[in-house]
């Protein structure tokens, strides 16, 4: 506690009366400019309290004389951006793919919008840049199940595959093993044939004629006599270096026994037609487009 306030002989100022081991503290006032700045800051704070939303009370709060609301400001910004984008998106909605591609600036907008949409919605299954995952086609490679033209892609994205949408692509491969249509040893023979003939893993001296006969009878109607696939029913191409579920013989066996068949959502439930057009153009541009 302050005990004895005395005058300092050197500076001519009072001491605070505090003393520690003979060291006394001078009562030096704060600089004037500092004090004035401090007081005016307080004054400004009161003005800001009046102008802007500040004091909460019971059911509401003081809205401020300026009526400013950060939420409204964000809404206005968003609305402004959407209005700016609407010009291009309206054009994309009405123009055909060829017309969009003829306008480089509009195509750039569409591809950018498509890229963002793809990253948000499609990338989780189809991989970054459409690189694909087992069971999810590599879009960049062009191994299309249902067609790779712009209109094909647009339809697939819009209605989906086995999605329940009335216009969805739907087909089913019979579970040959599960239904007993093929006996386990016959399935092994078919797998031998497909593995060597279409997948290209030839074993010297192996006779696959039994498998070939079974393939022609059971599989060729959908997958084609040369394993070229059939896009009308979404039957994958077999004579390829890339395969939907992976390059392994046991996968052929498991698919013939009890096939897995992928489902893709119908995006018309979540994306507007113009956005679907954009994502179609982007998917087409990845390299697999036809």
């Amino acid at each position: 506690m302050p005990t004895k306030i005395e005058k300092d002989s050197v500076s001519g100022r009072d001491t605070t009366g505090h003393e520690w081991d003979g060291i006394k503290e001078l009562d030096t006032p704060l600089p004037k400019w500092w004090i004035y700045t401090f007081y005016s800051s307080i004054a400004v704070a009161f003005v800001l309290f009046l102008l802007y939303p500040s004091i909460p009370y019971g059911p509401g709060y003081w809205h401020g004389l300026l009526g400013y609301s950060p939420r409204k400001a964000v809404d206005a910004e968003v609305a402004k951006l959407q209005a700016e984008r609407k010009v291009s998106m309206d054009k994309i909605a009405t123009l055909s793919f060829d017309q969009i591609k003829a306008d480089p600036a509009l195509l750039e907008v569409a591809l950018t919008k498509g890229k963002i949409t793809f990253e948000e919605n499609c990338q989780a299954c189809h991989g970054a840049g459409g690189s694909g995952h087992p069971g999810f086609p590599a879009l960049a490679a062009g191994s299309w199940l249902w067609g790779g033209k712009l209109t094909d892609i647009q339809r697939t994205v819009t209605h989906g595959i086995r999605s329940g949408d009335p216009a969805a692509h739907t087909s089913a491969m019979p579970p040959f093993g599960e239904l007993g249509l093929l006996k386990p040893e016959q399935i092994q023979q078919v797998a031998d044939f497909v593995w060597s003939k279409f997948y290209g893993h030839v074993t010297e001296g192996q006779d696959v004629s039994a498998g070939a006969a079974l393939f022609a009878q059971n599989c060729a109607p959908c997958h084609g006599a040369d394993g070229q696939g059939n896009r009308l029913v979404g039957a994958p191409r077999l004579n390829s270096r890339i395969h939907l579920y992976g390059d392994a013989r046991e996968i052929i066996v498991s698919q013939v026994t009890k096939p897995r068949m992928g489902v893709m959502p119908n995006w018309n439930a979540r994306l507007d037609p113009a956005t679907i057009k954009c994502v179609t153009l982007y998917v087409h541009s990845l390299g697999g487009g036809e």
Partner: protein, 492 residues
């Protein structure tokens, strides 16, 4: 006489304050007008510098239709720097670094030869301060009149003259800020837009900013900028040696200083009559007789002031003169010392400068007007196609730094049988892509390269993209890689 002794007492007060307190209030400097050769050189340099600064943005230069017609223009919106018939892109920014290095070495060289002449003659702070001081003198009168005016109570005349002075200062500051903006945008356009209120916000902001800084720095801060804000005086001594020419008071000749007549047989007196004119003329308010010091900007105005007095008192001119420490020591000892311009220090600076000039000018002349940059896709790294061949995607940027459209051929080497297509372009695979590079622009293409290399032992192999200007034959190469699965052997 009384006023001069007042100066001395003010100076002494100032020095006392510095000695006894951590903080000293600024002693306002009232430089006296002088006439003489140094002052004439200073005027000539000032006029030349200001003329270049104010007039350069208005110089027109025809570059072709739809091209900026301004000789010197730093166009930020299109990222171009135009300097007469030279056009630089952001990629050429290293030339600016080279120019700055060159400027620094040149400054070192000049300082080691003749001291801080940059500070005394050409520094913008000095130029504008000098201009503002001249206006102050024309309106308020010379040193003594200004000191008397500031010491006296306010009169209507003082208020009017001060208002006029600050008005003219602000007008010049505004002109300065406006001229600055004109280096960044078309001068005649912005000169009109500024007054019709249709110029961009940054134009008003930076005009205001530079108006304010010019007014404050040249009108109010003056020598404090040099003494307290500028780093250069702090390390100038690293460039100076005893062979450097600086503004020097020849103490061996001037001391002991004393007033009054030099009488035969009287007390021994030096040439310095201790009139204080050198102190009165100094724009930074120092006494050159104390020797070379931090505040001295080497302007030489004290030389002009002193020469006048020497002429009046019938003594030889040049009591304050350009000289070196070594020569001063020699003169004091009655010896002769040659001027040594070429010495290790200056030779090093000269060599560095010559090297920088050669490198810069070679680089500027060899600068390619054709730019190619290739960025490989990272996701996916590669795509295997149904037939087993591989495809890699690349984002190719082609910059055409000329003023004419140019037909380019893009090809790829190191990858036999490679075919290219442009995404969403012509779907037919090509071995050579024909690209039209529009003038002064950058083309961005996504190029898909399909190939079936015999083997990719590491999963990658180097390839070169080659861009050739079919009109001029100039070409540029970009090294990249082509990737596939490790152990790839032709897709089978």
């Amino acid at each position: 006489m009384s006023r001069i002794s007042k100066t001395d007492s003010r100076l002494r007060e100032h020095q006392d304050a510095v000695a006894h307190d951590l903080y000293a209030n600024r002693v306002k400097v009232y430089p006296k007008t002088v006439r003489g050769p140094m002052r004439r050189i200073k005027w000539a340099v000032l006029i030349a510098c200001l003329a270049v600064y104010y007039v350069l943005p208005w110089v027109r230069w025809y570059r072709g239709p739809n091209q900026p017609g301004q000789a010197v223009l730093l166009d930020i919106s299109t990222e171009r720097f135009y300097f007469f018939n030279l056009e630089l892109w952001p990629q050429d920014i290293w030339l600016l670094a080279g120019l700055l290095i060159l400027g620094a070495v040149l400054l070192f060289l000049v300082t080691s030869l003749v001291g801080r002449v940059w500070c005394g003659y050409t520094c913008p702070q000095t130029v504008w301060t000098d201009l503002f001081m001249w206006i102050e003198k024309e309106i308020e009168g010379d040193r003594n009149e200004r000191m008397a005016r500031d010491a006296a109570p306010l009169t209507a005349d003082t208020i009017w003259k001060k208002t006029l002075k600050h008005g003219i200062w602000l007008a010049i500051a505004f002109w300065t800020g406006g001229a600055w903006i004109m280096y960044y945008t078309d001068a005649p356009t912005v000169a009109v837009d500024f007054w019709t209120g249709s110029a961009a916000t940054p134009v008003y902001f930076f005009t205001g900013l530079f108006t304010l800084t010019t007014y404050l720095l040249a009108g109010w801060a003056r020598e404090q900028v040099c003494t307290y804000m500028c780093p250069w005086p702090r390390f100038q001594s690293a460039m100076l040696d005893d062979q450097s020419f600086t503004v020097t008071y020849q103490a061996w000749r001037g001391e002991p200083r004393a007033r009054g007549k030099r009488v035969e047989g009287g007390p021994q007196r030096g040439d310095c009559v201790d009139c204080g004119m050198c102190v009165a003329a100094c724009p930074t308010g120092i006494d050159i007789r104390d020797g070379i010091q931090l505040e001295c900007i080497n302007c030489g105005l004290c030389m002009d002031a002193c020469d006048h007095v020497m002429a009046r008192t019938g003594q030889a001119k040049g009591l304050i003169t350009w000289d070196t420490l070594a020569r001063q020591a020699a003169k004091k000892a009655g010896k002769k010392e040659p001027i040594r311009i070429l010495r290790p220090r200056t030779m090093i600076y000269l060599t560095a400068m010559t090297a920088a000039v050669i490198v810069m000018s070679t680089a500027l002349m060899m600068r390619s007007t054709l730019g190619l940059s290739v960025q490989r896709d990272r996701a996916p790294l590669f795509v295997m196609l149904a037939d087993g061949s591989l495809r890699n995607g690349y984002t190719v940027k082609i910059s055409n730094k000329t003023q004419t459209n140019a037909p380019y051929d893009l090809s790829i080497t190191g990858l036999p049988g490679a075919k290219m297509v442009v995404a969403e372009g012509d779907p037919k695979p090509q071995t050579v892509l024909r690209v039209l590079g529009s003038s002064d622009g950058v083309e961005t293409l996504r190029v898909l390269v399909t190939a079936r290399p015999a083997e990719l032992s590491n999963g990658a192999q180097p390839v070169d993209f080659i861009l050739r200007d079919t009109a001029t034959g100039a070409q540029t190469v970009y090294h990249s890689t082509f990737m596939g699965p490790a152990g790839y052997a032709g897709g089978r």
